[in-house]
Structures are given as structure tokens and as C-alpha cells.
């Protein structure tokens, strides 16, 4: 077993090319290339139904690809699914531990499934680390949503995997727990673990080394957050006016504007053509209380811009 796919001197934990999954004649994941170097944290973003979960399932051998090739930790996806499973930790989007087992029983069961020694001690250690030692005998189904997520994370890392595939692990988790979660992810990555994590939170995207943005089954953008923002070539302005709603209605019709978002006191507009947008904004200066201020484009602006663009391509 080699120690991972190597390419241009970079060792990849995930190296998949042309991955495709077809449901009912529709390519839900459409010739997707995903490369994640070892020890890195990659964020997987995209609107609902874009194919993130399906891609992750393809990567951990839960689905058979209809096309494409790939390897995880240097092992072929199609032929070595069983070996890959031993070294990958997968956290499902939907809570998938056993509701009618206690927290301890769940952790111990997972430990035993990976064939690890001392399952009792390991489960106990995980319980302590989680801070759930006192509630160990409570049924997992009775936990709150956030605690379920934290238990799932503990369960999928209990066998010290080399690759973590996390599908929206922090959905419904409170800010403090989220921060702890990300600190933990970074600590694990520092020790060599590779992480692919899907999320809808922009602040989490910024905590990743790189992000992959997917829409309608295709990868639309990838790279570091700054790269992705830079490549989008958007210029963004914050606008102020006495009647923001009226201004918004006008701007919606303006061809120079590609995305619009209301932010309380202000309106953020972005456009791909900086000059055209600036010129267009000049036309609104007569509006009462109008003010315009050039601001940095955010990741969210970029994503919304992409979503609109891809939709046009598909229409």
C-alpha cells in the first residue's frame, strides 16, 4: 500500500478525476475532479442539492461512481473500498448513530466495528474528551441536535482515521462548540490528518486551507478564499439611501449589477465589470441620502454570483 497518491511532488489524500454519479438520467455529480493534499483542510461548499453529499459518498465508497477514477489515501476507490473504510472517518449529514443505544454503547459499538482493541477504554476516553462522561448512559436519540453532532464527530474519529469526510458537521452547533470543533480539526490536521468538510457557513470556509465550490453537480470555483474571491473579478459597493427598497428595485433591473444583498442600513451590490458598475451607480446619486462606498468582495457575494451564473448556464 503506497502512502497516498503523489502528483507533482504533492501527496494527495484524495485524488479523484471525472467522478460522475447519475440518478434518474441526471448527472448529480458531473465529472468532478477533487484533489486534497495530505494534512490539509478543504471546505466543500455549494447550494442545496449541488451534489456535495453525493460526492462525499462516492469518495468513501458508499456509492459506486458511474464514471471517473479516484483514489483515497492511495487506494483505488473502485477496488479497495473495504481498505479505504478502515482509514477514513465519515460523518453523515443526517444523524446516523443508533437512537436506541446509549452514548457509551454507540461509541463502544463503533470502536468494535473498526476492530480496535480495548473498546471499553476507548469509549470511556472519548466520552471524557466529549465531556459526556456523566451522561454516558443516556440514549443517543435523546440528545439535543448540537450534542448529536458532537457525538457523531467523536464516533467518526475514534479509530484515528487518516482522512475525515465531514458532511455539514456543525449544522445546528452553537458558536462556542463550533469554535472548539474547528480548533480540534486544525489540531488533527497538524498531526497529518486530511479533512474534507462540507458546510454552508462562510466563516467556516475561511478556516479552511482551500475551498471547493460546487453548483449543479459541477465544480465552479476552487482555491484559497482569497483566490476564489480574486478570480471571480467582482467589485462590490455598499450603498446607502433614505429609501433602500426603492433603490433596490431600480438596481435589480440594472445590467451592470450581478448580485444584490440587503444588510440592514446598507445594500451591497456587486458586478463583474467594475467600470460599468461605477458608471451605473453614478446615475443614482440624485436619490435622497445616497452614498456609495467601495468595499471588499465577500465570499458570499462570490457564491451568490456563481449561483446565478450557473443557473443561467443550465437554463
Amino acid at each position: 500500500m503506497s502512502d497516498g497518491g503523489a502528483n507533482n511532488g504533492v501527496s494527495y489524500a484524495i485524488d479523484a478525476r471525472g467522478l460522475t454519479k447519475i440518478y434518474d438520467g441526471r448527472a448529480v455529480v458531473d465529472h468532478v475532479d477533487i484533489q486534497v493534499p495530505r494534512g490539509k483542510i478543504y471546505g466543500f461548499l455549494g447550494p442545496n442539492g449541488s451534489g456535495k453529499t453525493t460526492s462525499i459518498r462516492l469518495l468513501c465508497g458508499l456509492l459506486t461512481p458511474d464514471d471517473g477514477t479516484g483514489s483515497c489515501l492511495g487506494m483505488d476507490l473502485r477496488t479497495h473500498a473495504a481498505q479505504i473504510k478502515r482509514r477514513v472517518g465519515y460523518m453523515t449529514q443526517r444523524f446516523s448513530l443508533w437512537d436506541d443505544l446509549s452514548i457509551r454503547e454507540n461509541l463502544q459499538f463503533v470502536t468494535e466495528m473498526y476492530g480496535l482493541d480495548r473498546p471499553r477504554e476507548r469509549a470511556q476516553d472519548a466520552l471524557k474528551a466529549l465531556g459526556l462522561a456523566e451522561r454516558a448512559e443516556q440514549l443517543a436519540g435523546q440528545l439535543s441536535g448540537g450534542w448529536k453532532q458532537r457525538l457523531s464527530l467523536a464516533a467518526c474519529t475514534i479509530h484515528n482515521p487518516d482522512l475525515l469526510l465531514l458532511d455539514e458537521p456543525t449544522a445546528g452547533v452553537d458558536p462556542k462548540a463550533r469554535r472548539e470543533f474547528w480548533d480540534e480539526i486544525h489540531r488533527l490536521a497538524a498531526s497529518g490528518l486530511t479533512v474534507l468538510v462540507s458546510t454552508h457557513y462562510m466563516d467556516e470556509a475561511e478556516r479552511c486551507h482551500e475551498i471547493i465550490y460546487m453548483a449543479y453537480g459541477k465544480i465552479v470555483a476552487r482555491g484559497s478564499v482569497d483566490d476564489v474571491i480574486g478570480h471571480a473579478g467582482l467589485s462590490t459597493w455598499a450603498l446607502y439611501a433614505r429609501d433602500l427598497n426603492a433603490l433596490r428595485r431600480e438596481l435589480e433591473k440594472d445590467p451592470a449589477v450581478s448580485t444584490l444583498a440587503s444588510f440592514g442600513e446598507s445594500l451591497h451590490v456587486s458586478g463583474t465589470d467594475a467600470k460599468a458598475l461605477e458608471a451605473a451607480l453614478k446615475g443614482y446619486e440624485t436619490q435622497p441620502g445616497f452614498a456609495a462606498e467601495r468595499i471588499a468582495t465577500s465570499l458570499e457575494d462570490v457564491f451568490i454570483h456563481y449561483m446565478a451564473g450557473v443557473k443561467d448556464n443550465f437554463a
Partner: protein
């Protein structure tokens, strides 16, 4: 981390199978409703079928073919009715009509009073009457026939007075003809009980395993299970073992209640029966496991289980004598494990059959078990596709 990797075992792991089994037991333990059903199903079924175990049925439908209309003939029939065993429901006009009634199961007995019945009595010749019985249920007819023999000594008491007093004490005779052709296997009422064992084990075995697996799929826990390095055979063993125990519990309830409440005898070896049980239970569990591969949810699992259960009830020889069924039905029945198990359990419990006696029905069960298990593990999908 690589050290960790080395500790992970390759191939089939008994420990993993054991852990899966433990998990199933814990889940079962917490499912109080299912636990109750496991015990209640055999109890309720036995009580429901209990009436059929009633071993001394009365007022059985009888056709009287009277070719003689003397007072003696009428006395004889009245005597039969007075035994409480016979209820004259038909009076066919010809022997052919009487045979048809018997064949169609409309009557249990045909009593034929020959011509000259009265004349023979008066002449001091021994009177003859014929009773033909449907032997579909031999235990049901033994009581009535014995009682009918006695009728000759009592029925004519009133008639043998005055000038006929000299006839007193002369025993008439009854010739009895039991038509075995309707039941060459000697199907008895007791047969219900070992049969019920086969049916209940089929029902709970198939349904419970099919549900145990589709439940994982429905709740989304299957995705988790499949993402871990678990082998199909391990899952199968882990899922099936708890239900083997349950099958034994149910079988024990049936044998115990059958004996305690209805006096159904246990003639053969319970050890031999236990050995057969393990194979039969495994057959059903593997079948349930196989069905679950195609079921998306628990409702579908139940519906598919019923598709196996219905023929097992109707075509296995549980309700109707197997050899009496049309050939196509026998052919279907030959592909049901219950058919073979019911024969074996009847043989052991009611006739005291030994291993050599049951072998011809035991090897098909073994074959079923192997074939179904192999197909089930092959069909088990290790992906979510």
C-alpha cells in the same frame, strides 16, 4: 496512526459479529412492544387453534342412506343420534349421492341401512349396517364408531317386546369402513400444534430479520454501518443470532402450552427437535435477510414477509393434508422450508420419529439453509446504490 492501522484486523472477524449481535440484543431489549409480541403471538395462536385441538367432537354431520324403512331401521338411527356423536344432516336417495357427500366433505359419516334390515332382525339373523367414515381426522371418528357399536345392544330394547322378546340379547353387528383415501397420511387434530410451530417461526423469523435490516435503512444508520469496515457475513450473523434465541423461546412456549393446556403428547426426542429447529430458524432468518435486501422500508418488508407467510400457511400441509392438494400446490409447497419442518416436527412430536425417519425431510431444510444464506450474503449491498 500506522500502529493503529495494524491493529485493525483483516477478513471475517468473530468479534465484530459478536459486537453486532450485542447491539441487536440491546436494541431488542429496549423494544418492549416487540418483546411482548414475541411471547404473545404463540400464546394467542395456540389459544385460537385450541378449539381445533378439542379431541372429542360431537354432533358430526351424518348422511343416512336408508334402504329399509322398518321400525328397527328408525330405532337404529335414533340410537345413533342418542349417542350425541351423530347428527343426521342428509338423507340421500342413492348410494352414489351418499358417496358424493362424503367425498365433498359435507358429511363425516355415511350410515347405510341395507334392504331387509328389519326382516333380518325379525328372522333372528344378525342385522348388518355399514358406516363409512371420512378419515381426514382419524381421532375424530374413533369415538363415534365405538359408540355406534354399542347402539345394537340398546337401540332395540323397546322394540324387542311381546312376540319379539326372544330376540333380546342377540347382538347385531356393524361393519365399519374407514375411507383412508382422503387422508393417506393419517392427519390428526394434534397435527395442528407442530404445524403451528412451523408457521409461527416462519412468521416471526422472516418478519423480524427483514425489519431489523430495513429499520437501519429507514433510520439512516445503514449509511453509518456501511461506512465502517464491516463484512456482509458479520452483519448477517449479528442480525440473525438474537432471533434464533427468540425462535427457541417461541418453540418452547408452543410445546409447553400444547402439552399443558391441550394434552398434546411429546413422544419423540426434544433434543432432536432442537437440532432441527436451529436449521429451520436459520432458514427463515436468512430468508428474511434476503427479502430485506429488496425492501426499502419496514412496510415493504412486512408485505414481502406476508408473501412467504401465506403460502407457508396454505400450502405447507399445515391446514390441509399435503398429498391431498393439487399438484401445482404441492410443487409450490415443496419450495417452502415450512413444509419440511412441519413434517419433521409432527414426526418427532407425535410419532416419536428418530433421525433416520426425518432425514428425507431434513436434508431439504439443510439445503435451503445453505442456498438462502449464500444468496443473502451475496445480495447484501455494501453500498447505498
Amino acid at each position: 496512526m500506522t500502529q493503529e492501522g495494524k491493529k485493525i484486523r483483516e477478513g471475517f472477524s468473530l468479534r465484530r459479529a459478536y459486537a453486532l449481535m450485542k447491539k441487536e440484543f440491546i436494541q431488542l431489549k429496549r423494544d418492549k412492544m416487540t418483546l411482548r409480541m414475541i411471547v404473545m403471538i404463540p400464546i394467542i395462536q395456540i389459544l385460537l387453534f385450541g378449539y381445533a385441538l378439542n379431541n372429542d367432537p360431537k354432533h358430526l354431520p351424518t348422511a343416512v342412506l336408508a334402504q329399509d324403512h322398518s321400525v328397527f331401521a328408525r330405532s337404529f338411527v335414533a340410537g345413533l343420534v342418542n349417542t350425541d356423536y351423530f347428527a343426521v344432516t342428509r338423507e340421500p336417495k342413492s348410494a352414489a349421492a351418499a358417496q358424493r357427500l362424503l367425498r365433498e366433505g359435507q358429511v363425516q359419516f355415511v350410515v347405510t341401512i341395507p334392504e331387509n334390515f328389519g326382516r333380518d332382525i325379525v328372522r333372528g339373523q344378525k342385522p348388518q349396517a355399514l358406516i363409512e367414515a371420512d378419515a381426514t381426522d382419524p381421532t375424530a371418528i374413533s369415538g363415534p364408531i365405538a359408540a355406534a357399536q354399542g347402539v345394537f345392544s340398546t337401540a332395540f330394547a323397546r322394540d324387542f317386546t311381546g312376540p319379539l322378546a326372544y330376540l333380546k340379547g342377540r347382538q347385531g353387528s356393524l361393519s365399519v369402513e374407514v375411507h383412508r383415501m382422503y387422508n393417506p397420511e393419517g392427519f390428526t387434530r394434534y397435527n395442528i400444534l407442530p404445524g403451528l410451530m412451523g408457521i409461527i417461526l416462519t412468521m416471526t423469523g422472516i418478519m423480524m430479520t427483514a425489519m431489523a435490516i430495513t429499520r437501519e435503512r429507514e433510520r439512516g444508520t445503514m449509511e453509518n454501518l456501511l461506512s465502517m469496515p464491516v463484512r456482509p457475513l458479520e452483519v448477517m450473523i449479528g442480525k440473525i443470532m438474537p432471533y434464533v434465541l427468540i425462535g427457541y423461546i417461541q418453540a418452547a412456549i408452543i410445546v409447553f402450552l400444547g402439552e399443558a393446556l391441550f394434552g398434546v403428547p411429546v413422544i419423540g426426542s426434544l433434543v432432536l427437535l432442537s437440532a432441527v429447529l436451529v436449521v429451520f430458524i436459520a432458514c427463515n432468518l436468512a430468508l428474511g435477510y434476503l427479502l430485506s435486501a429488496s425492501a426499502q422500508n419496514q412496510t415493504q418488508a412486512i408485505q414481502m414477509s406476508i408473501m412467504v407467510l401465506m403460502p407457508s400457511i396454505l400450502l405447507s400441509g399445515f391446514l390441509f393434508p399435503f398429498r391431498g392438494m393439487p399438484h401445482w400446490a404441492q410443487d409450490i409447497g415443496s419450495f417452502l422450508p415450512a413444509t419440511y419442518f412441519i413434517r419433521i416436527s409432527r414426526g418427532i412430536l407425535l410419532k416419536g420419529d428418530g433421525f433416520m425417519d426425518i432425514w428425507q425431510n431434513f436434508w431439504p431444510l439443510l439445503a435451503f439453509m445453505v442456498v438462502i444464506t449464500v444468496i443473502a450474503t451475496k445480495r447484501y449491498r455494501q453500498t447505498l446504490d
